[in-house]
Each structure stands twice: as C-alpha cells, then as structure tokens.
Symmetry: C2
Subunit: 501 residues, 2 copies
C-alpha cells in the first residue's frame, strides 16, 4: 500500500511538471506571436507589412538540398523499379468525404480547403487512402505501384528532427489476392534494401500483426469496443514509458488495472522465430482464433525473410501497434539506431524512417458493393532521411555540384559576344550542357572564377586568332592545361573529356 | 464584293455551327450531371453515399499516362540542364498575402485553405511568385533555376483540351542584373529546343514587349490608369475577334472609340526585323520613350535570335499582351499550329503551350527595402503537350511498357516457392530488376503469359533438374529460345541480354 501511494505521488509530480512545461510553452508561443506582431509594426514603412516566410511547418528546397533529395529519391525509385513497380499519381486534394473515417484520432490533422463554392476538398493526409480510392474508382484488383508525393498534416512541426507539415512520402504497395505473406515479405525486403543502400547506419525493422494485437487484447480482457483506442495507447510506447501508457489506459480509457497489467507483460516481448513458437504454445493466446492466425502467418513471414537473408534486422515486437485505423494484418516500422554511445550501452532508437502494413478492408470502403482488394504496402519517410544526409554532407568535405554543365563558353577579348552566342548555340544543338556569362564583355578571370565556383570542368575560349584558325581553345579547369581543338571536333572532345561526369 | 459576301455567309455558317455544337455540349453535360445524381440515389444502400471521383478539374495519372508524362519531363529537364539550370522546390501553399496583388483580374481563381487556426494560406497559382518570394527571402540576386511542380487555378476546366484545375508547370528563370536581351534570348532558345525535341508539329513563338504595348496605348490616347485593364482586353485577341475586344474596351472599360480604333490598327501587325524597323520609324511610336526602348531591345533580341538560327519560328506580334500583371519587358507565347487543313488554308493556332517574359519588379515587391532583382523566365504548359502525346500514342501501334522488369523468376513444377524466393533475392541484391508471381504454385503458362502482357523480356526458370545441375533455364520471351545458364553466370547473362532496355 505504501508502494502504491509512492507511485501515485510520483505520478502526480510528473503530471504537475508536465502542466508547468505546457504552461511555459504556451507563454513562449504568446511571446513569439507578440514579437512577430511588433516586428511587423516596427519595420513597416506603410508598404511591406507582410512577413517574408514560408507557411509554418514547410520549407523551400534550394539547389543543394535538391541535389541531396534527388540522390535519396534515386536510390528509392531504383529499388521500387527493381521490384517491378509501376508508378501512378493522384491529385494533391481529394473530396473531403474520401478522407473521412480513415485515420481515427489523427483526422483532426487534415487540412481542409476553404468552401469557395463547389466541392468540399481536403489536402491528402497520406498516399494510401488516395491509392485505395484510385483502385476502387478504376475497378483495379491487381497492381504493384509506387507513388512519391507530398502529403499534408497539421501537426506540431519539429523541423530540426525532420518533422514537417508538408512532407514527402515514398509509397510502394501490392494490391491483389495472393498466397499469404509473399507480398508482405517483399515489402520488408524493400525496406531492408533501401535503408542499406542509403547507408544510414544500423537499423531494425519491428514487425507485428493487428490480429495478434487484437487476440492479445481479447485474452487480456479488453472489451471489443475498446480495441482501437487501447491500440492507440500501445502505439505511444515508442515515445513514452509503460507507466504513462498504463495510466492512460486505466485513467482516461477506463480499462481495468488487471487487463492493463496483462497487456504490460505481453508488450515487453520481442524476438524472432523462437518468440513466435513460444507464443504459439502460450496457453491463452493459442486458444484465440485471430491471434493464432496472426502467429501462423508471422511464422510463415519469418521463413520467407530467412530465405531473403534479412532476419538479422527484423524484430517481432508485441509493442508495435501503428496509429492508423485501416491496418488489418502485418504491420511494421523501421527505426534507425544511434551508434554514438560512448559507454557501450544498447543502441538507442532515433526515430522511424519507414512503416507500413496490410490493409485488406480499405478499398472495400470505397467500392459501392464493398468488394475487397487485399493490399500491403510500405511508406518511406524521406524527410528524416534528408535531415541525416544533409547533416552528413555538411560534416564531410564533399562539395556537391548543383548543375551538370560540361563547358563554359568564354572569350579572352572584347566584342566577341556574337561569337560566343554562335558557339554556345552549336553546342546546345549538339546536346552539350553549356553556359556563358550574360555579359557583353566579361573578363576572362571572372569567367574562369565562375567555373571554379560552380565546378564546371571545361572552358571553351574563343579569341580572334582562334576564329581565324578555325579552332577553339579548350581549357581544363582542374589542371589549367589548354589545348587547341578544331571547331568541328569540339563536341566530340568535350564529350570524351566529360564522359565520367 | 460578291466574294466578300460569300465569305461573310460562310463565316456566319461556321459561327452558327459552333454555337450548335456548344449548345449540344452543354446539354450533354447536364444529362451527365443528372445521371450521376441518379446513380448516387439508386445504388445507395445507406452506407456508401459518396461519389467516387477526383475533385472537379483534376485527374489521376495511371501507369500509362505516367510513362508518357515522364517522357515529356525527361525532354524538358534535359533541356533545362543543358542550359546550366539548378533546381529548387517550394511548398504547395504560400501565405495568402504572398499571392495578393500579383495576378490582376485572375486573383479570383486562387484556391484558399480553410482557416483552421493559424496562418491564412493559399495554393500556389504559378511558380513565378513563389520563386520571387524565395529570392527575396534568401537575398539571392543571381540564379538560373528550373522548377517543375503542380499549380492550382479555380478555372472552368476543359479537360479534353488539356485545361485542368491542377496542372503542372515547368518553369525556367534567370534572375540577375545582366546585359540586355542575352538571358531573354536564351529563354526563347529553350522554348524552341523543347518544342522541336518533343516533335509536336509546327509552332510559332509570338513575341512582344510590355513597354511597346504601354507606348502604343499612350500614343493611341489611352489614359495611364487604364493601361492594365486595356492590356487585359488585348490579351483576349487570341480567343475572340477584334470586334468583341473593341466593344469591351469601349463599352465596359470606357475607352474612346477613336483610341480603340487606333489600337485596332496596331494590333493587326506582326512580322520580324522589318516590322521593328518600320515601327522605329513610326512618327508617333518613335516619339514615345518607353516604346522606343522596347523596340530597341526587340531589335537586339532579334539579332541574338538570328545568331541562334531560330527567327524562322519567331513572330513579333503587337496583339500579344499576356494576362499577368507582373511583366515589365519582353513577353512571349508559343502556340502549336494545326497542320491537318485539307484546303491549303493558313495553319490555325490550337493553343498556347509555353509562355513567359521579363518581370523586373516582382522580387522588389517582397523585399523589405524594395531592392529589385531583374528576372526573365519561361513556363512550359505541359498538360496540353500530354494530351497531344497521349492522343498520338493511342493512334499509333506502339505498346508502351510501364515497368522496367528484366526477368521473371518462374518455376516449372510445384513446391518450388522457396527456390524462387532464394533466386529472386539473389537477383535483387545484384541490382537486377526481377519479378515473380505471388503464388505458391503458379502454372508455367500463366507465368509466361504475364511476361507477354507486361513486356518482360526474360524468364529465369527453376526446376528440380536445374537445381541439381546448378543451372537456371533462361527463356527469351520474344523468340521462345531457351538456354541453360550456370547459376553464377546468371546475373551477367541477364545484363548482357537486356543491355538495350
């Protein structure tokens, strides 16, 4: 009893500290708002009242960020294509009712468009619901597709940690009636390939099954009506400790303390095939039909993953729940592990970079006759990956090029603008990537400097003598070597000298 | 005179036929709407009330459309890169006030987001204003960038003609203080390269200058305060005849009939260097300072375009006005010319596919100190181009592939799922694009048929005998030839046999 009182007192302290923190945050927000208003008033000369910024939770991508982004996309797209996926695209907004009732507690984060007459619209919240709408609308029962596009969530942004209100998702999904766990295993293989390819450090892919969770809830004594909401609580276990999740279950959601404690025992468990075998023998779980089905399929999944040689990074984890309502079978989430522990501690998770699962009922929600199309898919959360790649590039010495220009067309003397225009036009028409300075009479030094700054490897210099001789002087920027090239051989010479680019 | 009457009668017939066609279209639309409403009421079982569709004026891109879209993008991006452009990206929405006052009469077409607490946001209307905001916000005074992204306009969609509410723009812009007309000429060269490369048939690029228009309005007696609104009227000349535009100017906009008639004479003019020379001698225009500046620069532009060898497709056209408020100098618009005229008539314009111009004041509108950054740019309107490419592909015999899969991993007997999984995993890890059917025991015929349908060129067949012998049977789908390949040489063999893909 004394112990219980102590725990309660501690819980109360934690609650109060949190309230203080929330109040402080609220005050800080108010102050920031006032400062912003003051700034607007202060600099106002009666003309420029607006704040020069992108909307909250969004950002621009400059040329450097784009270069990094395209590298990551390239790795991801080439993996999706390696697995034979087609590509589709859908509008950035959907009819509001298309999104209604698909996201559970997260629905409040959907961006709505203003009613300007006509249809009520919302920005897409993910790519999965539009995909299901697309399948139902076009009566497609069998497709393997990827879709890379921005999605929108009115969440609290944490931009330094790669959490935005506008962000990319890279989705790969397999729709169709197939033999169990074969497409599911492929989705996990894809996550494994992409995370390995991007060299983001060590990672683990947690796997669970909604049927195992539901069975577990049933045998722990959770009433059917509370399955989804208790599942939402379990989903928070990667961010908050069990004690807090437990008190949410019991306090807010009215679960009996005994049921919560039984759940508490299960959700500690994680492992591999051995754990699956153990749970298949579990006197309670093995009596539950859906749990047994889920465990049987999980076993099959692990057999396939063994053939793929990737079980080393897979953890069957009973605490994995995933927030979204629409999952019906296997669910999974990949997290990066922090390696820089000095004291040899266990690697710490730094956050989810991919997630997905099976959603066999979603397409049926859109079909007028409720016809189901089983689906399983994975979504790569690219923003956190960008953050890591950006930080790494900043730390490294590598200078990233933001153009692919092969040659700068330059002149050594004045009055050669027309000759430069003629030459660059010839090069463009031959498919050479070429630039020139937009000056009538640029200094040679400035032209060479431009190449140094932007990484252009070659300079084609026209001069009066060269024009008379029918040649162009080609300068290799890195070595400062200069060679005279006949005008008719110039294109070929540039191609050869930049063939590694 | 009899001939004239005949021509007039013919024109009247055409006008009446067009009206009939428009009426019929209107009726068909109404019927479709009623049928849709009926369908909603009819199939409703109290559960699925919503309409299964994309929002008005938007569409999905399925795998086939995406394949066409990516071809067009590839041509456009490779041109932009050939000209040394970097790439940027901005959020899909901006602060509402960022877009305010930039689009003149078109502002009513902007999509606003609902006020859900926080900032007031609008979907971007083009990529130019976000670009200017980006430059001012980051104090960039010098950049050459492209940006390919969707923009949003609450316009009346005409989807069969490629006019949507959500559509792509492909923008290339050069910002910075440079010598006159050099970047402007490059923008026109880019339009010329892209339209030639895409082989869309004959086209013409109309060019004018806002300064020439303003000077023309001044010498015609248009009051300064009416310049923008009269400019909007002139902009309609590509869609409606002069008589209608004239009555809008005089009736709605209160211009004197004499001023309108003077404008009417100028806007008939189009030509090349000769017309520029003629107008430079025009007793009224040559006395107007801005017109003279504009004409001088137009002459310079034509000199540069002559060096680029593209004046054959360029028409200096005094009726070109462009709708947007922010242009300050050169403006241009590319239109495709319809060739299928049977009676040897003049080619008819089928609509604009690219447009752009110089906007030297826009960045300054965002800079707190009003610092200007001169800009010129071009926007490729890709949707109409898609429509044409789609129609052409449909008409042709070409079968477009929507995946890049090199090989299907198949089996000839039952119980070989594990062997297929092992082999496909090896292939994926070696970078081969491979698929398999998600069936435990698929029939060989079904596997071969899948290759025929999807264009997969090779089949790697595992069978019990092959497994014993350490080989794989490789079947070439097109020729039905089969060769036995040692397992360790399989990757190399697939690479060689698909190197042209």
């Amino acid at each position: 009893m004394a112990e219980e009182a102590a725990v309660r007192a501690q819980a109360e302290t934690v609650r109060r500290l949190k309230q203080d923190k929330a109040d402080a945050d609220e005050i800080a927000k108010e102050v920031a708002k006032l400062l912003e208003m003051k700034a607007q008033l202060g600099t106002d000369e009666g003309k420029h009242k607006f704040v020069l910024k992108t909307p909250k939770g969004t950002r621009d991508f400059g040329p450097k960020e784009m270069a990094i982004r395209e590298r990551a996309f390239k790795a991801i797209i080439s993996c999706f294509k390696r697995h034979g996926a087609e590509v589709i695209d859908t509008p950035v907004f959907e009819l509001k009712e298309t999104l209604t009732g698909k996201y559970g507690e997260d629905s409040k984060l959907i961006y709505d468009l203003k009613d300007q007459g006509g249809e009520l619209l919302s920005l897409r919240y993910d790519l999965t619901v539009p995909f299901a709408r697309y399948l139902a609308m076009n009566k497609i029962t069998n497709i393997k597709r990827y879709h890379i596009a921005k999605v929108y969530r009115r969440d609290n942004p944490a931009m330094t940690r790669g959490r935005y209100r506008e962000f990319y998702q890279c989705d790969f999904d397999i729709a169709g009636q197939f033999d169990p766990m074969i497409p599911d295993a492929e989705c996990l293989k894809i996550v494994h390939e992409i995370l390995s390819d991007l060299q983001l450090g060590d990672f683990v892919i947690k796997v669970n099954d909604r049927r195992i969770l539901d069975g577990m809830f049933a045998v722990c004594g959770v009433p059917d009506s509370k399955f989804r909401t208790i599942c939402s609580s379990v989903d928070k276990l990667d961010k908050v400790p069990w004690e807090e999740v437990r008190s949410e279950m019991v306090g807010e959601k009215g679960l009996s303390p005994e049921a919560a404690d039984r759940i508490g025992e299960y959700v500690q468990l994680h492992g591999g095939l051995d754990l699956i075998e153990q749970l298949l023998q579990d006197p309670k779980l093995s009596q539950n039909k859906v749990a047994k089905e889920g465990l049987g399929d999980m076993k099959l999944l692990f057999e396939y993953l063994t053939l793929f040689g990737i079980t080393g990074k897979i953890s069957f984890d009973l605490s994995l729940a995933r927030g979204l309502d629409y999952y019906t079978g296997v669910i999974f989430e990949a997290v990066l592990l922090q390696q820089e522990n000095e004291h040899g501690e266990e690697p710490v998770s730094v956050g989810s970079v991919a997630g997905g699962g099976r959603y066999d009922g979603l397409v049926g929600m859109f079909d007028p006759k409720g016809r189901k199309v089983p689906c399983v898919g994975v979504s790569i959360g690219i923003e956190r990956i960008f953050s890591i790649l950006e930080q790494r590039l900043e730390a490294s010495e590598e200078k990233i090029r933001t153009t692919e220009t092969q040659v700068l067309v330059a002149s050594a003397q004045k009055k050669l603008l027309e000759e430069r225009l003629k030459l660059i036009s010839e090069l463009w028409d031959a498919g050479i990537k070429a630039e020139m300075l937009y000056k009538k009479n640029p200094k040679l030094l400035n032209q060479l400097q431009y190449c140094e700054e932007t990484g252009i490897p070659l300079v084609a210099i026209v001069g009066e003598q060269e024009l008379k001789d029918g040649v162009v002087k080609l300068r290799i920027v890195a070595t400062r070597e200069e060679v005279s090239v006949r005008r008719e051989s110039l294109v070929e010479e540039i191609r050869i000298r930049t063939s590694q680019c």
